[in-house]
Each structure stands twice: as C-alpha cells, then as structure tokens.
C-alpha cells in the first residue's frame, strides 16, 4: 500500500448492477454519505455534495465525476476549489471497483491524494462525517423506537 492511500474491500450480497447504482447515483449517495448530492453520472460532470441542512452551517464541497463504466468502475474527485478543474494535486480521488464474486460483488474502494494535498485535508474528511455519525447514532434508536411502538399497540 502506498503511504497516503486508503484501500478497503467489502463483499456485498447483491449483483454488480445493483451495487454500481448504489455507489454512483446521487440519490443513493445521499443515503450513505452527504445530505445532498448534485451531479450527473457521466464522466466530467461537475457538481457538489452538501453536508448539513441549515444555510450557513452547510458545507458545499466540489465533486467531479471521472470515470463511469457500469457495472465495473465509478470514480470521482472531490474537495477541489469550486472554480478549478479537478486534477491530481488539488483533490482527493475516490475509485470504486466492482468484481462479480459468487452470488454477489466484491467492492473495492480506494481514496488517494492525501500526500499531495497535505494532511489537513484528512481533518476535513473527518468533519464531513458528522452527518454520517449522526445517522449511525439515530438509526438504531429509530429502529428500537418502531419496535417498541408496535409492541404497545
């Protein structure tokens, strides 16, 4: 592993077509990462992802689609200055690689650019997790609340 790159692999019990849709479409992205996602799933499309809901508190982060090869590869750059084209050196680069495996899909994620961008960008990455951490906190509560509500009927 090159120092400055994050690599993860996870097995998903779903077809590559389904997994591709979940990792690439803005409506699904909003379910597992930012609050809002605005871009087209075509190479070169520029847009943004938004963390937080309330006007001034919301962080709008530039997002540029790099590669779209369904159902194998989806990659994008993010965190570049909104008025600059996304290139190596001014952005973090995320790639999803999908490989059919048995009855499911092996999903590999790589994020690089930390060494070139400087380490402070990693701090930003952490900030953008707030929304996500919130869901991790609230979702189990919501589930147990629904379960309790059913019992009470």
């Amino acid at each position: 592993m090159e120092f400055g790159t994050i690599e993860r692999e996870i097995f998903v019990e779903a077809s590559p077509e389904v997994v591709f849709e979940v990792v690439s479409s803005p409506s699904h992205l909003q379910q597992w990462w930012p609050d809002q996602a605005h871009y087209e799933v075509v190479p070169g499309s520029t847009g943004d992802i938004v963390f937080g809901q309330h006007g001034n508190d919301a962080a709008v982060v530039a997002f540029t689609v790099v590669e779209v090869r369904p159902p194998r590869t989806f990659s994008f750059r993010w965190t570049h200055p909104a008025d600059e084209p996304a290139v190596a050196g001014n952005s973090l680069f995320v790639t999803f690689d999908l490989t059919p495996s048995g009855s499911g899909t092996l999903l590999k994620m790589t994020e690089s650019g930390f060494r070139e961008m400087g380490w402070d960008v990693a701090l930003l990455e952490q900030q953008y997790n707030d929304h996500v951490t919130g869901w991790d906190f609230y979702l189990p509560r919501l589930v147990s609340y629904v379960a309790t509500a059913k019992v009470q009927r």
């Binding site: 120092f3 400055g4 994050i6 993860r8 996870i10 998903v12 019990e13 779903a14 077809s15 389904v18 997994v19 849709e21 979940v22 990792v23 699904h28 379910q31 597992w32 990462w33 899909t105 999903l107 994620m109 994020e111 930390f114 060494r115 070139e116 961008m117 400087g118 380490w119 990693a122 701090l123 990455e125 952490q126 997790n129 996500v132 951490t133 869901w135 991790d136």
Partner: protein, 92 residues
Amino acid sequence: MVDLLLADGGGTATTLSDQLPVTRQAVAKHLAVLDRVALVRVTPIGREKRYRVDEAQLARAVTQLTAVGSAWDARLQRIKRIAESIQQTKKH
C-alpha cells in the same frame, strides 16, 4: 523511502537513491512533496540538502488517515446494507 529515512536517521537525495532502484532526480522530487506537506525537516549541507522525518507530523498524519479509514468502513457498511436490501426487494 520514509522507512529508509527513519532507519538511517536521515539522508540526502544521493544517499537515498544509492539504496533505492530509482534515480536521484525521482528521489529529490518525492522528497520535495514530503517537505511541502511538512513530513520531513530539511537542513542544507553544502550543496546538498539533508532530510529527516518529522516524527510528530508523521504520527499525526497516520492518525488522521486511520480516522478517514474508519469513516470509509462505516460508509461501505451502509452501501452494503442499501444494496443488499434492494437486491432482496428485487427477488420478491
């Protein structure tokens, strides 16, 4: 390269390229990147520059990367959950 700098307690582009299968020029370029993100400290010796790893900065960088890694673990778990529930719905 960071490993070599840590093991030797520092080095120059020349001493490092002697131990690596790359040119002195490539090493110097890589060192410049490490310098820009403050992972190394530079001391000029004559016409060469001596580099050593800033261990506090390195530790900080590793901590931050680890945190980003855990964030991705959580994101991927959610991707898995969403995709698997869509797949289940399709079967029925």
